[in-house]
C-alpha cells in the first residue's frame, strides 16, 4: 500500500472509529481503497514487524480447557486431525488448535444452544425439518465421544487415541455412515458436527483459538480480514498476506 501516507498517518492519527463517524463525503471524496487503507491505522504498528523478531514466544494462556476433560480433548485432537490432516499444504487440525477451538465454543452459547429453540414437545421429524433433539451440543459431544471410545474398544480393543491412523479413519467412517448402533444420538449427526466444527476451527479468525498463526488462511491464500479490495477486485488473482481482526483494534 502507498507509503507516502506514513507521515499523514502520524499527523492525523485518525482512529478508525473516528473515521467511521466522519465517513460520508469527506472520505468519499478520496474514494480510493489504497488511500483509505493507509489512512486508517488499523495496521497496528507492532504487527507490521514479524512478532518473533522482537520478543520471545509469549505464553499463550488460551491453551487451556473450558469444557472437555483431558481424555475428551485428546480424542477430539486425534479425530479432527483425521478430518483435516497435516500434509504438504500445511498443518492439520491439531497444530491449528482446532480442539481448543471446539472446547472454547462448547463452553459458550453454541455449546448450550442458547440462541436456538429448545422448547418441548420433542417429536421425531422428517429430515427436511431439521434437528429435533433435546440434547445440547455439549451433551452431544459427551455422548458422541464416549461412544467413539466404546466403538474403538469393541472393534480394536484399544482407546481411540491409541489406534493407528487407518483404524481411526475406520472408526470415524463407521460413525459417518451410521454403521454404529446408538440409541441416544445419530452417529452421522455427531460426525457431521465434528466435521463442521473442524472446518470452523481451521478457518475462523484466530481470536477463537483455532486457525493458529492464520495458517488455515495461508494454506488457501485467503487474505482474512482486510478493509478493502478496491485495488485488486478487477485484477487477476493476487495473493495478499492475511490480516486478522486483531489488526483492526490498533489505535
Amino acid at each position: 500500500m502507498a507509503d507516502n501516507s506514513k507521515q499523514q498517518e502520524k499527523k492525523e492519527s485518525l482512529s478508525r472509529r473516528k473515521f467511521l463517524k466522519s465517513s460520508g463525503i469527506a472520505v468519499g471524496g478520496l474514494a480510493v481503497g489504497g488511500a483509505l487503507g493507509s489512512l486508517l491505522p488499523f495496521k497496528d504498528k507492532k504487527t507490521n514487524n514479524p512478532v518473533v523478531k522482537n520478543q520471545q514466544v509469549a505464553e499463550n494462556y488460551n491453551l487451556a480447557l473450558m469444557y472437555f476433560t483431558r481424555e475428551q480433548f485428546k480424542m477430539v485432537e486425534a479425530a479432527t486431525e483425521r478430518i483435516f490432516p497435516a500434509d504438504d499444504n500445511g498443518p492439520g487440525a491439531k497444530e491449528l488448535g482446532v480442539a481448543y477451538f471446539i472446547d472454547h465454543q462448547l463452553s459458550g452459547d453454541w455449546g448450550f444452544n442458547s440462541r436456538e429453540y429448545m422448547q418441548p414437545p420433542f417429536f421425531k421429524g422428517e429430515k427436511v425439518q431439521g434437528y429435533q433433539g433435546r440434547l445440547r451440543r455439549r451433551e452431544i459431544f459427551d455422548i458422541g465421544l464416549r461412544e467413539l471410545q466404546n466403538h474403538s474398544l469393541t472393534k480394536y480393543k484399544k482407546n481411540f487415541v491409541e489406534l493407528s491412523e487407518e483404524e481411526q479413519d475406520d472408526i470415524l467412517t463407521d460413525f459417518a455412515e451410521d454403521k454404529v448402533n446408538l440409541t441416544t444420538l445419530s452417529p452421522s449427526g455427531f460426525f457431521n458436527m465434528l466435521r463442521s466444527s473442524t472446518l470452523e476451527g481451521v478457518y475462523s479468525d484466530p481470536l477463537y483459538s483455532g486457525n493458529r498463526n492464520m495458517d488455515g488462511w495461508k494454506m488457501r491464500n485467503y487474505p482474512g480480514s482486510q478493509m478493502a479490495y478496491t485495488e485488486v477486485i478487477d485484477k487477476e488473482f493476487t495473493v495478499i498476506p492475511p490480516k486478522s481482526l486483531k489488526d483492526h483494534l490498533g489505535h
Binding site: 478508525r16 472509529r17 467511521l20 465517513s23 460520508g24 463525503i25 472520505v27 468519499g28 481503497g33 478430518i83 483435516f84 490432516p85 500434509d87 499444504n89 492439520g92 452459547d109 444452544n113 442458547s114 440462541r115 436456538e116 429453540y117 429448545m118 417429536f123 421429524g125 422428517e126 429430515k127 427436511v128 425439518q129 431439521g130 434437528y131 429435533q132 459417518a176 472446518l199 470452523e200 481451521v202 478457518y203 475462523s204 479468525d205 477463537y208 488462511w217 494454506m219 488457501r220 491464500n221 485467503y222 487474505p223 482474512g224 480480514s225 482486510q226 478493509m227 479490495y229 478496491t230 485488486v232 477486485i233 478487477d234 485484477k235 487477476e236 488473482f237 481482526l245 483492526h248 483494534l249
Partner: protein, 571 residues
Amino acid sequence: MAKTLPKVDVVIVGVGWAGGIIAAELTKQGLNCVGLERGKERKTEDYFMMHDELRYALRYDMMQSLSKETITFRGNERIRALPMRQYGSFLIGEGLGGSGVHWNGQNYRFLPYDFEIRSKTIERYGEKKIPQDMTIQDWGITYDELEPYFDKFEKMAGISGEENPLAGKRSSPYPTPPMKTTPALEKFRKAANKLKLHPYNRPSANLSEPYTNPDGVSRAACQYCAYCERFGCEYGAKADPVVTVIPVAKKTGKFEIRTHSNVRRVLKSGNKATGVMYVDTTTGEEIEQPADIVVLTSYVFNNVRLLLQSGIGRPYDPVTGSGVIGKNYAYQVQKGNATGFFEKEEFNTYAGAGALGMVVDDFNGDNFDHSNLNFIHGGSIAISQTGLRPISNNKVPKGTPTWGKEFKANSIKYANRVLSVGGQGASMPFKHHYLDLDPTYKDEFGDPLIRITYDFEEQDRQLAKFLSDRCVDIMKEMGADKIESMEELGPYDITTYQSTHNTGGIIMGADPSTSAVNNYMQMWDADNIFVVGATAFAHNSGYNPTGTVGAFAYRAAEGILTYRQKGGILA
C-alpha cells in the same frame, strides 16, 4: 395491567426498510410517528469487528434469537409441523434496520409481467396453462403505476446499475454507474453474449461511487471487502435503513424509536385499529400505544402472525380457498445452478460485494416462450462475486470424500478456482401453501408461533432443472474444465440456506374477496391499518424482493398521507 401512553398519529411496528421509509416520508410531512423495534439499536460504528465469518455468518449474531421465537414448518398438512430449532433455509433479522442491514444489496424491480401475471399468462397461453391449484392473480397495480416509486427508492438508496434491456421501462437512469467488473464477471459477460443472451451488471445498493441522495444523505463508496450478506457495512456504503431513511426521520424530531419493544397485539375497536400492545423486553412491562394509524412493517412471518393473533382480517382456509390472511405464501427456487472448476486459473473470489454480479434475464418472467414447457415464469441467472468465505466455501469435485487427506488437498486446491452460475427461480403460490398459527408451539410470551405449510411443486422441479441446464450452457461457454450442476430439486428442506425471500400472506389486489390489502397496502377490512412488506406479494418473482418492497413502502407512505387527509378506503 398494561400502561397506556398518550396517543400518536402513527405507530410503526418494525423499523427496517419498510418502517424506515414510512417513518421518513410521514415525519417529513409533520406526522408524529413512534417506531417499535423488538431488537436493539444499531449504528455503523458498532461494526468494528464485522469481518468475522464465525460470529456473523455461522452463529447468526445479527439475527433474531430463535430461543425466543421461531416458526414451525411442514411440507404438507399430513405432516406434523415442527419448530425450526436452528437456522437454515432463511434468516430472520432483528434490530434497528431489520433484515435491511444484513442484505446483500441486490436491488431489482419486478417485471411488468409480474404485476399482471394471470392476465398475461392467459392472454399468451390460454387458461389451461395454469395448474388447478396454482393461485396466481394480478396484483391490482401495473408496473407503470409503480414505476415512480421504484425510481424513488433507487434514488434514495443510490442504486448502482446499468440498463437491463429486458426489464420494464425506466423514467430515469440509475443514480450511480455500475460497480466494477471482475475477470470472473467478464467471463460470464462474454459467454452470455456468445449465447446471444443479454448480460448486465446487477443493480447494486453497494455504492459504486460516493453519493448524496435527495434527502441529503451522503455515503462513501463500496470497498469490495466481501462482507455484506449476514453483515452490516462499516462504511455505510451498502444502503440500509440505518444510514439512509432512519436518520432522515429522526432529524425531523417527529420520530421516536423504541427498541427492545416487542409488539404482541394490534388493538381494535370495531373495524378500526386503536393502537398496539407491546412488551418492553428490558422490564417485561406491557404497554399500550394508541395511534390513529397502525403500520405493520415487520418481517413477513410476524406481520401475518400479528394479524392472526389480533383477530384482524379473515384467516385463510386452505380447504375452501376463502379468507386471505396467510394466503399465497411463496418462497424462491434457488437451487438450479452450475459450478465450474478451473484447473489453470485462479480468481480473486475472496474479494467482492454483496451485489457484485452479472445477470441475464432471458429466462425470467415471460421473456421466453413457455408453450412447450411445463412451468410458467422463470428466473434470473447470475454469476455473483459476494466473497467466498473460507468456512462456508469448500467446494470439491464430485467423488472427493467429505473429509480426510483428499478432501483437504482438493478443498485447498480449488479454494480460488471455483466459479458458480446460479438461477434465482420464481415461486408460484398454490392453494395448499399458506401460513397460519401453530396449535402446539409458543414463543417467549406464550403466543403461538407461525406455521408454514409449503413444499416444492412439479412447477418448481421443472423450473429448477430448466434453469440449471441454462447455467450449464453458460458455464461451458465460460470454459470450466469440470462442471457440476443440480440434477434434481428434491423436496423443500428448511435446513439448508436458500434465500431470505419469504413472501405473501397478506397479499395485495384489486378485489377484497381475494386480497388482504389494496395497492396502497391498506387493509380492506380495517382502513387505518397498513401492512407493508413482501407480505403483499401475490407470488414471488425471479429476483431479490427488496427493490419491490421499497417501492411498495413509498407507495404506502403516499397512501397513508392521503388517508390522513381524507379517510376511507383509498383504492
